[in-house]
């Protein structure tokens, strides 16, 4: 006698439709946003993309498109400082939209680190500072790394992965 095949057991929470972010309802599947950190981007001082990696189940962006988006962000960051209604603006630090947050940190040398994540994800500024430290250790101090070029340092990528995982775990994602 063959065992009866049953539908997978859903925990009760899913069927009762809890918050869209964590347990999407079936008709919301097309608009579900993965929780936690989505991707990390590093832009050099001239606006060229040197690092971009996704850490969640987000639609992949074509490489040329990522280069274009990075330079668009670089210009927007500069323009936001120019258009400031008060003096002393240093550029966009946080962009909050309906479906994702973008947190950006610019170093004194002009390198920009930004992370996209689901809305209200905590710990993004700390994550970016950790990535900056990793950049200093594994990229800048790497004698084979050519300045302003795309980053191909395995230890950097590995450690950024650990940092992202730690950020997600610290807040239960």
């Amino acid at each position: 006698v063959r065992p009866r095949v049953t539908a997978p057991d859903f925990p009760a929470g899913r069927l009762r439709g809890s918050s869209t972010r964590v347990c999407p309802r079936w008709h919301d599947m097309s608009t579900a946003v993965p929780p936690g950190v989505h991707s990390i981007w590093v832009i050099n001082k001239s606006g060229g993309l040197v690092y971009q990696k996704s850490y969640a189940d987000v639609p992949a962006i074509d490489t040329n498109e990522t280069l274009r988006l990075a330079s668009i962000w670089h210009s927007l960051h500069a323009i936001s400082a120019q258009l400031s209604p008060v003096e002393g603006c240093l550029g966009i630090e946080l962009l909050e939209t309906q479906n994702f947050d973008l947190r950006c940190v610019q170093t004194v040398t002009g390198t920009k680190f930004f992370v996209t994540a689901s809305p209200k994800t905590p710990g993004l500024a700390n994550l970016l500072h950790a990535v900056y430290d990793l950049y200093c250790d594994y990229v800048m101090k790497n004698p084979f790394y050519e300045l302003e070029m795309p980053i191909r340092c395995e230890l950097f990528e590995q450690n950024v992965q650990y940092a992202v995982r730690a950020t997600n775990n610290a807040f239960g994602y």
Binding site: S30, V33, L69, I72, S75, L76, P85, G88, T97, T116
Partner: protein
């Protein structure tokens, strides 16, 4: 809550309304600045559309459906709230960086603007600037709305 400027743009980039509170460095909007501001907001909208982390189901590629009409960005010394309508009207409010989500306030401001333009039988079409009287009325209601919002948060 300290506000700096409130501006309304139509879909071609014409600035239909511009109000600046005292304390703002550049109150008037000269042509180059207007074009830079509108262009950067247009690029930002496309940027958000492309960076949104799920597939855009609306199909038109502009990311309009994913925007939800309201987004905000913050720098170290100001925060801009952007509310857009399906007709392409753009409502921009810049405030101090500490304020939270002003979606309701933006909606109220949009309703005030609609009262003065769409509901006004003497007003011109969507591309025309509101008359002086309308501007004065709108300025008053905008100032009142922001005052009300500050009083709530205080």
């Amino acid at each position: 809550m300290k506000a700096y400027t409130f501006r309304v743009f139509n879909k071609t980039g014409v600035c239909l309304f511009n109000h600046a509170w005292p304390g703002t460095a550049h109150t008037s909007l000269d042509d180059d600045t207007r074009k830079m501001l509108f262009g950067s907001l247009f690029s930002l909208k496309q940027f958000i559309g492309k960076m949104t982390p799920f597939l855009d189901q609306s199909g038109d590629g502009t990311g309009a459906a994913t925007l939800g009409g309201y987004y905000s960005f913050r720098t170290n010394n100001y925060k801009t709230h952007v509310h857009s309508t399906p007709t392409g009207l753009l409502f921009l409010l810049t405030t101090e960086p500490g304020v939270g989500n002003l979606q309701d306030v933006m909606r109220k401001l949009q309703l005030s603007f609609v009262d003065v333009t769409a509901k006004n039988p003497a007003a011109g079409g969507p591309d025309e600037l509101p008359s002086e009287v309308s501007c004065a009325a709108l300025t008053k209601s905008v100032a009142a709305a922001i005052e009300a919002a500050s009083a709530e948060t205080r």
